[in-house]
């Protein structure tokens, strides 16, 4: 691998991590002021803030890498330019993160799937030779531990709750499961980083344990899995979200307050 392609792979990989966290944060923040009870409104906005902070660290690192490279289409880059001025096709987030927030069951299940995946990924990422990525992973992992606990408890509370909450969880599983496969299928730029396929068994085990306690059935491994987010092929949901997220900086470039 030439120095150029490996540097580009590292930039893409860092942007992929940043984008997944940013889009997850932005989607979850839609609950702000709309949470089912005040404590949970505060919980989900806190989680959004953690994810936004993690995204900022990844974007800052990616911006540094881009600015050091000889010629890069995104140059000069800042954390803000990477979040606010890239188009939908440039985003590399997991499709799971951009799906509509749905009801509380769907939001909870999405957070559960995502935070279990993140905790496994960051546990491995904190040992990679790239010191910056390892430091961000180690820092983030402490926060993700809270997200895993919180979402696991809610999956159990809803799954093993009322007939209504159980039914809503079943619907959420049906809706979100086909988007879980993408987490474990490596994009080209993941070569030489953490191989996501090696996280799959651990992820399934943890999901299975919590589902068992929540009296929820596991979905079949053979269902069709949607992919594309990692390489910029998104569902129609992302464009609408970015339009809202990026509007101000697109309409008033460089606006500050």
């Amino acid at each position: 691998m030439s120095a150029h392609t490996s540097n580009q792979a590292l930039i893409d990989y860092t942007l992929h991590l940043a984008d997944s966290s940013l889009i997850m944060a932005q989607r979850s923040s839609e609950w702000c002021g709309h949470g089912p009870v005040l404590e949970q409104d505060i919980a989900i906005t806190n989680i959004s803030l953690d994810l936004l902070g993690q995204a900022r660290h990844f974007y800052q690192y990616a911006a540094g890498l881009i600015n050091q490279s000889a010629d890069h289409t995104l140059k000069p880059a800042t954390e803000d330019s990477l979040a606010y001025l890239r188009d939908e096709r440039a985003f590399k987030n997991l499709l799971l993160t951009e799906l509509p927030k749905g009801d509380w069951a769907q939001t909870i299940l999405k957070h559960f799937f995502f935070s279990v995946y993140q905790s496994l990924l960051y546990t491995r990422l904190q040992t990679v030779p790239d010191k910056d990525l390892a430091a961000i992973a180690a820092k983030s992992l402490k926060e993700v531990a809270y997200h895993v606990k919180w979402s696991s408890e809610w999956v159990i509370r809803l799954g093993d709750g009322t007939a209504e909450s159980h039914q809503r969880m079943l619907t959420a599983i049906e809706e979100l499961w086909p988007y879980t496969g993408e987490m474990f299928r490596a994009a080209d730029y993941e070569t030489g980083m953490v191989d996501p396929s090696t996280l799959h068994a651990g992820w399934l085990k943890e999901v299975q344990d919590v589902f068992a306690e929540a009296t929820l059935p596991m979905s079949s491994e053979s269902v069709y899995m949607h992919v594309g987010g990692k390489t910029g092929l998104h569902t129609e949901n992302l464009g609408y979200m970015l339009a809202e997220l990026q509007y101000l900086q697109r309409a008033y470039p460089g606006a500050e307050w």
């Binding site: 404590e39 949970q40 505060i42 919980a43 806190n46 989680i47 803030l49 953690d50 994810l51 936004l52 902070g53 993690q54 900022r56 660290h57 010191k131 390892a134 430091a135 961000i136 180690a138 820092k139 983030s140 402490k142 926060e143 531990a145 809270y146 606990k149 919180w150 696991s152 408890e153 159990i156 306690e213």
Partner: protein
């Protein structure tokens, strides 16, 4: 872990003076705590008239961090320093183990339960929190976790089963 990572030691009298200035800079969210109480100052360096302060964020998304950085700069300018550099490091990740004993006492007096002794515990336990948290109002240990997430990223919401008062707990991290 390495002791000098825990408690940054100032090597020179000049750095010592900067350290004294930093002891006056408070956290915008929890004004009883100073940045030195929190353990977020990792290093102070003074050379050729330049002051370099290295800080580490508490939580990744803590909105107070940018403000803290500005306040450190202002305090140093007020103390007569002109060339100031503030660096942020992520490694090693901040832990409440770095909070000073004095800081913990200030928190308690302010009505926030300070972090329990150590971060070495399992967070995997569902529907429970194994820490023994003392009510900052009536000192009862008969307390329960209401929510792992409170008014800021660093706090959880607890309630005292005896005096019934809800209170903030600065969680172990």
């Amino acid at each position: 872990m390495n002791q000098d990572i825990h408690i940054p030691t100032s090597q020179s009298p000049q750095a010592e003076k900067v350290w004294e200035v930093l002891k006056q800079v408070t956290d915008p969210e929890i004004p009883v705590l100073t940045v030195t109480d929190m353990g977020i100052i990792r290093k102070v360096d003074v050379h050729d008239g330049m002051v370099e302060v290295t800080i580490t964020p508490t939580y990744s998304g803590c909105p107070a961090m940018d403000m803290i950085s500005v306040n450190i700069r202002l305090a140093l300018i007020e103390a007569g320093y002109r060339e100031i550099r503030i660096h942020t490091v992520l490694d090693p990740a901040w832990t409440t183990d770095w909070m000073t004993e004095e800081g913990k006492q200030k928190l308690r007096a302010y009505g926030i339960a300070p972090p329990a002794e150590t971060t070495a515990r399992s967070r995997k336990l569902l529907f429970d929190d194994v820490v023994d948290v003392e009510c900052p109002r009536c000192q009862s240990h008969n307390t329960r976790l209401l929510s792992q997430f409170g008014s800021t990223a660093c706090k959880a919401l607890y309630q005292c089963n005896d005096c019934k008062e809800p209170f903030d707990y600065f969680k172990c991290h």
